[in-house]
């Protein structure tokens, strides 16, 4: 199959852009977790993150987080224009260190939850949520 010079340039240019773009746009999950823990290790136990595998609509994605004994839980969205979503600070009157809410996701990405425990340790969980473009664009 013969390619014109123009086609070859276009193809390799697109390939270059394709490799560069994802690296720049998506902050990595481990880096985001470290950003909260200050570099400390986060245990995989002690925190539950519930999010749908496929979001019906990226505008309203129900999620919930649960970390018994946590002082605070931070939720991040790795692929959003800015990763911060919310930080739940639990007071002495909270019956359980859990919260459900609805969030906006700009596209398929990792949703991350980092819990800070009373003893200063951290737990983290993350899950990929697929966000789709539906129908006729309407």
């Amino acid at each position: 199959m013969k390619f014109t010079r123009r086609e070859t340039l276009a193809v390799s240019g697109a390939a270059l852009v394709a490799t560069v773009l994802p690296l720049k746009l998506l902050a990595s999950t481990p880096d985001l977790i470290s950003g909260i823990t200050g570099g400390a290790e986060a245990s995989g136990d002690g925190i539950n993150l519930t999010a749908p595998e496929i979001a019906e609509n990226g505008n309203t994605v129900p999620i919930s987080v649960d970390a018994p004994g946590a002082v605070a839980i931070t939720v991040l969205a790795a692929g959003n224009p800015t990763p911060g979503v919310a930080k739940f600070n639990f007071g002495s009157g909270s019956g359980a260190q859990s919260c459900s809410t609805r969030i906006r996701l700009a596209g398929t990405q990792d949703v991350i939850a980092v819990a800070e425990m009373a003893d200063g340790s951290f737990s983290a969980a993350h899950q990929t949520v697929k966000v789709t473009i539906g129908g006729c664009g309407g």
Partner: protein, 109 residues
């Protein structure tokens, strides 16, 4: 004050002393992210509820820092322990300085 902002809360009317109850809250708010552009191409400035708190008889239950990634009409569901009869105070803080508040009493069964 942002237009049409209305809080809703769901709290049981009674609880046993020491019981943990589920509370649900919603507030109607556009949560303008600051990323949209208007018809002329100008950025529509950010205007969101940036903080939500719930306290019972003065004790903090939960204090949430909120970013634009929280959906329109912010919704939260959480658990609270009810040691005695009293009043829940729910407060939402708007970027524009407005503060919306709702109170709900609960009796001990």
């Amino acid at each position: 004050m942002a237009k049409g902002v209305k809080p809703r809360v769901k709290v049981p009317k009674t609880a046993a002393a020491g019981e943990t109850i589920t509370i649900k809250t919603l507030i109607s708010h556009k949560m303008e992210t600051g990323r949209r552009k208007d018809g002329d191409g100008n950025v529509i400035p950010r205007s969101i509820i940036n903080r939500f708190t719930c306290a019972f008889n003065g004790n903090s239950i939960v204090d949430v820092n909120m970013e634009p990634a929280i959906s329109v009409n912010p919704y939260f569901q959480f658990e609270a322990t009810v040691p005695e009869a009293g009043e829940f105070t729910f407060t939402w803080y708007d970027d524009d300085g407005s503060v919306y508040e709702k109170k709900k009493s609960i009796k001990i069964a």
